[in-house]
Structure formats: structure tokens, C-alpha cells
């Protein structure tokens, strides 16, 4: 497949979902680096984050980082420091380390896109929850946590059942059944990520909308 520049082979394929539409771009390395799409698969996450924070990677929206040349004097309107440990966002940008658990709530707006980027679009925790945290959280904030994680764990349970069936099917060389089970597994596993992709949409403002593919 040729790149948008019609000159070189496209080696970078970017898929974004914007306003409910899937936007695919196929780029060669030169064009990708011009546009600012990361082309280095070996880039360590810490570097990715610091690039992201310092606004080097243009495909990600950054929040007025460029007008903060010195972090020494917090300007009015800048993110206030964490009330619990007085960590500042600019200090976090320097070290990549947060000060305390409360920092996650204090800097949530600015952190969320960074975290999603570092986790390949992952924005919502799926999986184990400390039992007591679950009780406290659903009591105090009335969050929909239980149902959210309940459904995820149900999904996990179903997945593991399907997995067992699949290995049985393979053992008995019932390949037709195995193929069906494999498809079901893929579908189950893809549920949470499709949920996440749609949520990524709102934050990926720098990508222009193109026609809907498939």
C-alpha cells in the first residue's frame, strides 16, 4: 500500500476513532515523522511520556505546555499543586513520578490523556479490585464500579470457560467447534477495548476527519 504522499510504501498504519467514525491513515516513515506520529516501536514508555508531555509528539493534544518555560513560578490558571503532598504537575513532568495517590485525582484531567497514550489507549482499569476498596468506593461515591467490574469479571469467567472448551475441542480434534470457540474468545476479549476506543475519540482532536472506512 502506498503512503498518502503516493511516493513510498506505507509502513505506519494509524487507526483512530473520531466522532464515531473510524479514521485510518497509511503513511511512510518520512510522512509519519513529519506529521508527528511515533514511528519508533522500541521507544521506551518513559520517553514516550516525556515526549508527549513536552509536546514533541504532535498527534497528541497538549495542554498549554509551551507557555510554561520555567516551572518555578506557578502562574494563575496553571494546575494547582496536589493538596495532599504539594507535588506540582511540572515537577511530575520532570521526573515522571507522582507524589502520592491523591495526585491522580488532583491532576486527573491532565493525566488521563497521558496515561491513555502510555497504555495504548487503555483508560479504564479492568481486572482485580481490592475487596475493601470496592466496598468503600461504591458506598461513598455511588460509582457504578461494581457493575462495571462485575461485568468485566463475568466476562473473564466466560472467557476462561470458553478457553477450557477450546482446549477440549482441540484435544478431540473437533476443529470446526474450535474455530467457533476461538472466534467467541476474540469477540469476548475485544469487548473492553472497543469500549475504550470510543472513549479515546474525544481526546484525539488533532487528527482530521476523513471519510468513514467500512
Amino acid at each position: 500500500m502506498l503512503c498518502e504522499c503516493q511516493q513510498r510504501q506505507a509502513t505506519i498504519h494509524e487507526v483512530l476513532i473520531q466522532h464515531g467514525k473510524k479514521v485510518e491513515r497509511h503513511l511512510c516513515e518520512q510522512c509519519a515523522s513529519k506529521i508527528g506520529v511515533s514511528t519508533d516501536p522500541h521507544m521506551p514508555i518513559s520517553q514516550l511520556i516525556s515526549n508527549y508531555i513536552s509536546g514533541k509528539n504532535l498527534s497528541i493534544p497538549t495542554v498549554s505546555d509551551k507557555d510554561e518555560p520555567s516551572a518555578k513560578k506557578p502562574r494563575p490558571g496553571a494546575t494547582p499543586p496536589c493538596p495532599s503532598c504539594s507535588m506540582t504537575f511540572s515537577k511530575f513532568k520532570d521526573t515522571g513520578l507522582l507524589g502520592c495517590p491523591t495526585c491522580y485525582s488532583s491532576f486527573q484531567t491532565r493525566l488521563s490523556p497521558l496515561i491513555a497514550r502510555a497504555h495504548e489507549g487503555g483508560e479504564q482499569h479492568i481486572g482485580k479490585v481490592p475487596r475493601r476498596a470496592l466496598a468503600t468506593l461504591s458506598e461513598s461515591s455511588g460509582t457504578d464500579l461494581e457493575s462495571l467490574l462485575g461485568s468485566a469479571s463475568e466476562r473473564e469467567q466466560r472467557l476462561s470457560q470458553v478457553r477450557t472448551k477450546l482446549s477440549n475441542a482441540v484435544e478431540h480434534e473437533d476443529y470446526e467447534q474450535a474455530a467457533m470457540l476461538r472466534d467467541e474468545m476474540t469477540r469476548l476479549a475485544s469487548l473492553p477495548s472497543s469500549q475504550i476506543e470510543t472513549r479515546v475519540v474525544s481526546s484525539s482532536s488533532s487528527v482530521q476527519e476523513t471519510e468513514q472506512t467500512s
Binding site: L97, L98, G99, H119, E123, H125, G127, E156, R163
Partner: protein, 398 residues
Amino acid sequence: MQANDTSGHVPEFPERSGRKRAIPHISIESQGMIEGGPIQSGTTVWLKGTGQMSDVVMSSRARAARNLAGFPFPPAASSADRSQIMEICRRCIESLDHDKGSTVRWFDLRNSEPTDRRLLVERQLMSRQHARGRYANGEGGPDSPRGVAVIEPEERISILVNEEDHLRVQVIRPGLALEECLNEINEFDDAIEEIVDYAFHPQFGYLTACPTNVGTGLRLSVMVHLPALKMTGELEKVRNAASDMGLAVRGLYGEGSQAAGEFYQVSNQVTLGRSDEMLLREIESEVVPSIVRYEQHARAQLMTESRALLEDKAFRSLGILQNARLMKPDEALEHLGLVRLGVICKVIPDITLATVHELLLMIQPGHLQRSVGKELSQSERRVARADLVRDRLNQSKP
């Protein structure tokens, strides 16, 4: 269940009998935890060379990062905070149940010898960063309050206190055994959670000092040995495929280390948005088995199509190891890697896998110095390393 209040003062901990006790007066030994003491000699569990797919998979490791609610993360905490966190975690570890016949040994790294710290790192019971005690933000140092608990004699489980996070629980096993590692981590995690409140956020999951670890806080890694893929020139393909799947590929000794000897660690980067089950399935049932199949295929191909080349490489390396008088660590690793391939492909008959694996541990500076019983300079180590390797490999000849 009892100790819900971690905001400020130290909670009470239930004894294993269920009786509650106040914190400051406990003798540690009485709870079956041994303070300090010698680090075990001999080989360690992950180098046993047993387990599933052990021809290619050296070891599997799972690590969970956890933090206590209501305390700053170690890099941002004051020394006094770190001391208090360490005390809570240590008591918590002390009260955990462990297998009959095993002992929990607690190393307070503030008062430890550099040699001991080196041994713990080389046995992969803790990270280099933890040995140094210096955090990524420049805080801390050799005297920073931190420690590690090791469950002996297996050395399968270690719990790091005040590394980048308050608690990092690690389980390591030989061969492909991530599921077992993960189950064991979960047991410990549940038991710790009975005593302390973890920092948790409904969106971000388990909270960690570095946001790259939030979510499950779980890192699953598998160490694989891929010398045949290197020889057939297909290694890059595997590396790229792993990177495309969001997995990191690192050298034998972890982050930042070179992959001498073609030992690689494959691990997940993403911890948020994918459950432990999904991660486990992806790495243990999909990625690693396919890497293993590639390597096995490359080995079979070498055996049938270029047996002379394979034999030549393996025996040249064996020759160097059996005769050299000066040996750098990377050089030793490189040749041990090829000898390992030769042993597994049965072209080198009189060396055992156990010998090769033992040497992988013994050639490292800390173990080398312990085996000769004194501190050595770098050039002295090269001599000692060559002596040790020569000695072991000529010994195991019939």
C-alpha cells in the same frame, strides 16, 4: 478487615492466630521471620532448567506493584515517612502465612553490605535500583529506608519494600509458568490486603508512583533463550512482532541491559485497560509459545541443514570457555549461550544444562567475589571468572 485507618497513625495488625496486637513490641524472630543473615549459596530456583518449554524458556516472573493508601509514594516521601511505611510493610509481611518448611528472611538494606545487595540483584530477587536506593527523581540513597523479604529456601517469592512503590511482590519460576506465578502473587496480594488499605482509583486501578504501572500494576515477563533465531537472522522479526504487540524485549539482567548470549526478557508494557487474565493469556498462551516454536524450528533447521555450523559455533565457544585466562562478563555470557544451545541440541555431550545455568549465575561479579571470598578489582575479576569457568567446565568432563 480491622485496620482500615491508614491516615496518619499506624494501624493494628491481627496475629495469625487472630488475636490483635499493638505495633511496637514484637520480636521478629518469634514470628518466623529471620532478620538479615547470609544469602543462600548455590543456584536459585529460576535457573533450575525445569518446567514447560524449558529448552527455550529460562524463567517466568510476575510482579505486582502496590501502594498503601494515605502515604506518599516512596520517591516523594520523607525519610521519616519511608521508615514508617517500611515498618508497616515489614510487619505486614511478617504476619503472612507461608509454606511449611520455608522461612521469610528480611534484609534491611540500610545496614546491608554492598556485596549482599549485589548477590540479591544477581539472583533476581530485587532490582538494581533497589540496591542503590536512589529513586528516578534523585531522592534517596544507600541509607534510604527500604528492604526486601525473601522466602527461602526456594527463593521463588520476594517482596520489595520502598522500591519505587511501597510494595512490589515478585514470583519467579523456571520454565513457562506465568499462571502459577500470577496465582501465587494473587494469594499474597489478597493476604496483604487483609491487613492494609491499598491506594486504588476507580478509573486508574491500583495507583503507582509512575503512571506507566497503574491499572493492574502487573508486569509479567518471560526470559527466553533465542540463539538459533539469532544465527538464522530471524531474531529481528521476532523482536519487532513482540514490540508490535506492546511487549518490551530486554536483556538477561533486565532494564537497560544488553542481550548478550541471546537471552531476552519479554514483558508487557500496558497495565491499564487489560485485566491480568487477558495479559496472561496473551503472553503465556499466544506470544511466548509462538516465539518458542520459531526458535525450535530454527534449531531443527540448523540441525538438519547446517549442523557443521552449529557444532562449530558451540564447540568454539566451549573451547574458549575451557581455555581462556581472562573473561569479561558479556563474553562469558555469549559463549555460555552458545554452549547451552549445543547442550540442548545434544551436539555437546559431556556438559550438563545444570552446569551451564549455574555458571550463568556464578560469573556475575557478586557471586564471583563470594566464591573467592574477597573483593576483586575489575581486572582481577576477569582472571577469577576465567578460572571459575575453566574449572567447572573441565570438571564436568567424564
